[in-house]
Amino acid sequence: MLSTDLTLGILPLARRALLALMVAGATLTTAATSASASAPAETYVQNNVQTGLSILNNHSASTDQKREQFERFILGLTDMKRIANFTLGQYKRTASPQEQEAFAQAFQSYAIAVYQSYFSKYSGQTLKVTGSQQRAPGDTIVQTVMIDPNDKSGQPPLEVDFRVLGETGKFVVIDFSVSGIWLALEERDQFSSFLGQNNGSIPLLISHLKELARNYKAEH
């Protein structure tokens, strides 16, 4: 019975722990997508995201300077209001305009801190666009990999995809995924569940987001 118990217990725990909990460590093999649905969107991602990485990799700037520059960069790259509305999910319908506005501000501060935390992990790396797929007109998924010049492991590079809306000159990034996990999607699931557990209290969610943003800023 020992072997049965171990088989049913420890191996799945370990595997599920890896599956469910790893965000950046998964090294899944992806078939290269040669389709190039939107070259302008690819160029937009290639140029702009690399700029963000360079900001965080600038060793001559102070922490506050980097944070300020990165915030400006993110606000220029993304449509934060749209992302905030998306993450509210079904609760957007019942939220008052004041609550929506307060949430959008709290979310922006939180999201910038989260993005900085994520991007900091790859600040010494180079982004390489590998292709793109059009989901709908003006809605493109740009696929990239992060090339680490110091990596000698032989493992495939980390895959990061960006969802880009709009047309040339008016592009905005609305979500990105690491190894298949879309961040705004995960945030929407989290916020919806939190609100479901707390009688739909958006002020309580705002308070939590502010606290988390403070914690993130303290770490970086």
């Binding site: 049913l8 749209r82 969802r163 298949g180």
Partner: protein, 249 residues
């Protein structure tokens, strides 16, 4: 085969006990939010997650700390390589069952190279020298490829997130794994050691990431559920993007 019959009975008993335990706990009817999230056992799952957190804190993490203290980095890497290599026959069978011939070939090549040139799998020349990437497969993924749905979200005691399809897949993988057909006197210790070190290896790798998720979530349970499902879907698709499945913004 006698061993497998006994194991089968044990598996069935565990499943029945578990079903009874879940039935006993989940007395409150699921809310529309729980049903929308395909998580009708959410209250029970949340309690189980708390229990698993305590097991992790008081047993798993101290053990992992001792492992890191006693075994140097190179030794841990060799153990990791060995554990990965010994799981490759199961990966190979699932590659084949899914009709993934190229990936099956990669798995076969990795196993052959690492078992020989990698000295029984303790080294990984397949990745480092031959640039053959590693990938995971299991029977839960195979069932998904065959069109079987995940079922309601479940967190099991000790095990973690394990919806019915993946639970069943896990049991089938036990039967697929050829090492379970090699019986010798100390077999039980080999199995115990294998699973124990797998736990140490993977929990050691995920320690910082788990901490990050716990600290950065407004709802750790929901975050975990979303991450599990998204990662699992990505694995089932073998990383191939499916933009049409993404929601409208």
């Amino acid at each position: 085969m006698a061993g497998f019959c006994r194991r089968d009975v044990g598996t069935l008993a565990a499943a029945v006990l578990l079903a009874g335990w879940l039935g006993g706990c989940a007395t409150a009817p699921p809310t529309p939010e729980m049903l929308a999230a395909n998580d009708p056992f959410e209250p029970t799952n949340r309690e189980t997650l708390k229990l698993n957190g305590k097991i992790d804190k008081y047993f798993v993490i101290p053990t992992v700390a001792a492992y890191f203290f006693i075994v140097p980095d190179g030794g841990r890497r060799a153990i990791h390589n060995f554990l990965q290599n010994v799981s490759l026959p199961t990966v190979f069978v699932n590659d084949v069952l899914q009709g993934e011939t190229k990936r099956a070939g990669q798995t076969f090549a990795r196993f052959t190279i690492n078992t020989t040139l990698g000295l029984g799998g303790f080294f990984d020349p397949a990745t480092k020298k031959f640039r053959i990437p590693a990938h995971s497969e299991d029977f839960g993924q195979t069932l998904a490829v065959w069109g079987v749905g995940e079922g309601p979200y479940l967190i099991l005691p000790v095990i973690g997130p394990q919806p019915p399809r993946d639970s069943f897949g896990q049991v089938v993988d036990v039967f697929i794994d050829p090492t379970n057909y090699i019986h010798f006197k100390q077999h039980v210790w080999w199995e115990a050691g294998r699973y124990y070190f797998t736990l140490l290896d993977l929990r050691g790798q995920t320690y910082a990431t788990v901490q990050g998720i716990q600290r950065g979530s407004v709802d750790y349970y929901a975050s975990l559920r979303s991450l599990y499902r998204q990662l699992r879907d990505n694995e089932i698709r073998n990383g191939r993007p499916e933009p049409q499945n993404l929601p409208e913004f």
